[in-house]
C-alpha cells in the first residue's frame, strides 16, 4: 500500500506534469496555427499584388494594340552574333565618315559580358537581359564626331545606350566611346 505522503507526492507530480504538458501543447498548437495564419496572409498579400497588377494591366492596355514580338525584338534582338553586331557598328561608322583608313586607327571591340555598376539605373536590366558592351575608338580632331556617332546609333531600332565618352587631345586626338546594348535571347 502506498503511503499517504508518497501518494500526495505522486499526485502533485502528476499535476505538474499535466500543467507542463498542457502548456507545451498550447505553444505547439498555437504555433502551428500562427504559422498557418501567417502563411495564408502572405499568400493573400501576393494574390493582392498580382490582382492589382492584372487590374492595372487591363485598365492600361485594354484598348491598346500591343506591338508585335518582332517589333519589340528590333529594339532588343532575340539572337546575338558577334560578327553581325561588329559589322553593324562598323557600317554606321563608315556612314559617318569614320573609315578604316590608317590615320583613323579605328577599332571596335565587343564585350559580351559588359559590367554595369549596380548604382547605375541601367543595371536593373542587366539581369533579365543580356548586356553587351561596345567600345569604339578612333583618331579625330573634330570632337563633334562623338555626338555624330551617338546620334547615329541612337537613331537605330536597336537600343544603344551611351556609357562613356573620353576625348584626349595632344599629339593625336583620340575619341573613345563606350555603349551598352541589350539582347533578349530566346531559349
Amino acid at each position: 500500500m502506498l503511503s499517504k505522503r508518497l501518494s500526495d507526492f505522486i499526485f502533485l507530480g502528476i499535476i505538474v506534469l499535466v500543467i507542463i504538458a498542457v502548456v507545451v501543447a498550447r505553444f505547439f498548437l498555437l504555433g502551428v496555427f500562427d504559422d498557418r495564419i501567417e502563411e495564408a496572409k502572405e499568400t493573400n498579400e501576393d494574390l493582392e499584388i498580382e490582382l492589382l497588377e492584372n487590374q492595372q494591366l487591363i485598365s492600361d492596355y485594354r484598348d491598346d494594340v500591343l506591338p508585335s514580338e518582332a517589333e519589340l525584338h528590333r529594339a532588343m534582338p532575340s539572337s546575338y552574333s558577334y560578327t553581325r553586331l561588329r559589322n553593324k557598328v562598323q557600317g554606321h561608322l563608315e556612314l559617318e565618315g569614320i573609315t578604316a583608313e590608317a590615320h583613323r586607327d579605328r577599332s571596335v571591340e565587343i564585350n559580351e559580358n559588359a559590367a554595369i555598376p549596380p548604382e547605375a539605373a541601367l543595371s536593373e536590366y542587366a539581369g533579365p537581359y543580356d548586356a553587351v558592351g561596345i567600345r569604339i575608338r578612333f583618331n579625330t580632331d573634330d570632337v563633334s564626331e562623338a555626338a555624330d556617332v551617338v546620334d547615329r546609333l541612337y537613331a537605330q531600332d536597336q537600343l544603344f545606350v551611351l556609357h562613356s565618352v573620353e576625348y584626349e587631345t595632344g599629339g593625336t586626338s583620340r575619341l573613345d566611346l563606350r555603349f551598352i546594348t541589350f539582347y533578349h535571347l530566346q531559349e
Binding site: 499526485f11 498550447r26 492584372n54 544603344f160
Partner: protein
C-alpha cells in the same frame, strides 16, 4: 491474509471450506479522488489555455482563408479578362522595359547640352586637353590649360553658378617649364534634373 470460513457437519450434510482470497486491506479512496482532480485540472486548463486561444486563432484563420478565396476568385476573373483581351503580360513587361531603357538612353541628351555649355565656358579662355563623361556616374572630368593659374578659380566660380553643377573642383595644377600654359584637372559633378 485471506479469510477462511469453516462449516461443520451438524448443520448440513455437505461440508466445505469457504476461502475469501481477496486481501484484507483498505481501498485508498483518496487515490480515485486524485485521479478525478487531475482529469478536471487537465480538462479545465486545456479549455482555458488551449481551446480558448485556439478558437480565436481558428476564427482568424477562417477569416483569412475566406479572404483568400475571394482574392483567388477575383484573380481568376482578371486572368479570364486578360485572356479575352489577348493581353500578353510577358510582352507588356518586355515593352515596358524597352521604354524604360529608351528613356535612360535619351537621358544622355540632357547631359550633352550641359557638356556643350561647360566646354564652351572653358573654351572662352582656355583649352581642353582631355575630357571624359560617364553617364553612369553623371560626372565629367576635364583637363584644362589656361595661361594663368588664377583663371581656374574664375572657371570654378563660374561652374558653381550653373544650376546643373553639383560640385566643381580643380586639382593638380601643373606649371610646365617654358612658355606652355598651366594645366589642371577639373571635376564637375552634375545633376541634369536641377532647376
Amino acid at each position: 491474509m485471506p479469510n477462511r470460513h469453516y462449516q461443520g457437519k451438524e448443520r448440513d450434510t455437505q461440508e466445505f471450506i469457504y476461502v475469501d482470497l481477496l486481501p484484507d486491506m483498505k481501498r485508498p479512496r483518496q487515490f480515485n479522488v486524485n485521479i478525478i482532480l487531475i482529469v478536471l485540472i487537465a480538462v479545465g486548463l486545456s479549455w482555458l489555455i488551449i481551446y480558448m486561444p485556439l478558437n480565436t486563432r481558428q476564427d482568424e484563420l477562417d477569416e483569412v482563408l475566406e479572404a483568400q478565396n475571394d482574392l483567388q476568385s477575383q484573380y481568376e476573373l482578371t486572368e479570364q479578362i486578360i485572356a479575352s483581351y489577348r493581353l500578353d503580360a510577358d510582352r507588356i513587361d518586355f515593352m515596358r522595359d524597352i521604354e524604360a531603357i529608351d528613356e535612360l538612353q535619351s537621358h544622355y541628351y540632357d547631359h550633352k547640352q550641359i557638356l556643350d555649355d561647360t566646354i564652351r565656358t572653358v573654351h572662352s579662355d582656355g583649352r581642353i586637353l582631355r575630357f571624359s563623361y560617364n553617364s553612369f556616374q553623371e560626372t565629367y572630368t576635364l583637363q584644362v590649360s589656361y595661361v594663368r593659374e588664377e583663371e581656374f578659380e574664375v572657371l570654378e566660380e563660374y561652374l558653381y553658378d550653373l544650376d546643373f553643377v553639383e560640385s566643381a573642383s580643380y586639382d593638380s595644377v601643373r606649371v610646365p617649364e617654358g612658355p606652355a600654359n598651366v594645366q589642371a584637372r577639373v571635376i564637375v559633378e552634375v545633376d541634369p534634373d536641377a532647376e
